[in-house]
Amino acid sequence: MSEKINMSTTDLSDQALVAKAREGDKSAFDALVLRYRAQAILVAQGVLRNFELAKDASQDAFVKAYFGLKHFREAANFKTWLFKIVLNEARDVYRREKARGLFKFQNTRETDEGEESVLEVIPSGGASPREVFEMQETKKQLERAIYRLPERERDVFILRYLNGFALSEAAETLGMAVGTVKAHLAHGTGRLRTMLLAPAQPVNQAGR
């Protein structure tokens, strides 16, 4: 079923759409879903590394957001509020699947090259095959290193550098102070630098 986009709502701000949704305008909430669905899946995927689980978790998060709109303070930031719900939902799914013993850190989507990854190389025109190959290898190393980080440092890193969140947005989404976010970023990038630049050295296996 194709999802129609109501042209009258696409230009409205989050605050206006939330106000209309609280009054019972379902199309306003649909517009919010369409606006943030891709990023919601990416945020969930950063935790779960599984597209189907990430899709399910992000949809459940939107459902919780729908029923929680009456408690949402209009002055608050809808985006950070929503992604806080998405993160919590993804973590719940992770714990549940881990308890079942069925969850494996595998990606279900395959790239054109037959590899599985949540990251992709941004196409750049004019790159030689060797350069493309090196970039793919570097991308794999980066992804392995990111998922070796401690949970908090990883969450901060993914939100900040892979989802494009501002420091304040990342802090609000994760429920931390901005200073704490900066500290996690500093520690995380330090570990990544160590892992990427010296892969032969003993690596801190503090990740999941």
């Binding site: 999802e3 649909d30 899709k55 949809q59 900040r160 630098r193």
Partner: protein, 177 residues
């Protein structure tokens, strides 16, 4: 990106990669899935705090009704109170001595027992009442100071009273003749 947090190498690396976005085919039914989940949750039976309070309240009301309706009948099924029997028993003690049956003091048996035997025959006590009476008698017997059966003074008094009664009864018969 904040250049103070990243080294040049890391910054360059991060500029070359991004999170893989889901394809349009995979996202085609995303909104429909969200709406279906919303619909399912709205139609699902909800048992929240309000419902829990209602269940507890109804339970308390039913428990209270049960107590007030059935508790009195349950208490009436208990054994009859011992006190009236004991009171009757004690009263028998006070009346037993002047009214010993003629012809037999029956010292070996206490006067209250003879009195009570008559009462028991006259009143046709139920089994529970008889048991209660016997228990009360045994209790009172054990509470008495000394042993009546071995109290010689008491036995002498009872014998004297028997003689007086007998003599008064025979005197009344003679007067009648």
């Amino acid at each position: 990106m904040d250049q103070e947090e990243l080294t040049p190498e890391l910054e360059k690396l991060l500029k070359q990669v991004r999170l893989r976005e889901p394809s349009q085919e995979l996202m085609a039914d995303y909104l429909a899935g969200v709406n279906a989940k919303i619909e399912r949750r709205m139609n699902a039976p909800h048992f929240g705090f309000r419902e829990a309070v209602m269940v507890v309240g109804v339970g308390l009301i039913l428990a209270g009704l049960f107590y007030f309706l059935f508790a009195p009948s349950l208490s009436q099924e208990r054994a009859p109170e011992i006190q009236p029997v004991i009171a009757r028993h004690v009263q028998n003690d006070a009346e037993a001595i002047p009214t010993l049956p003629a012809g037999g003091s029956e010292i070996a048996s206490l006067p209250t027992v003879a009195r009570n035997d008559e009462r028991i025959q006259q009143e046709a006590l139920s089994l529970e009442e008889e048991l209660a009476l016997l228990e009360a008698f045994e209790e009172e017997l054990s509470n008495q100071e000394g042993d009546w059966l071995e109290d010689e003074e008491l036995l002498e008094e009872l014998a004297l009273l028997d003689e007086l009664e007998i003599s008064s009864a025979s005197g009344a018969q003679v007067a009648a003749i």
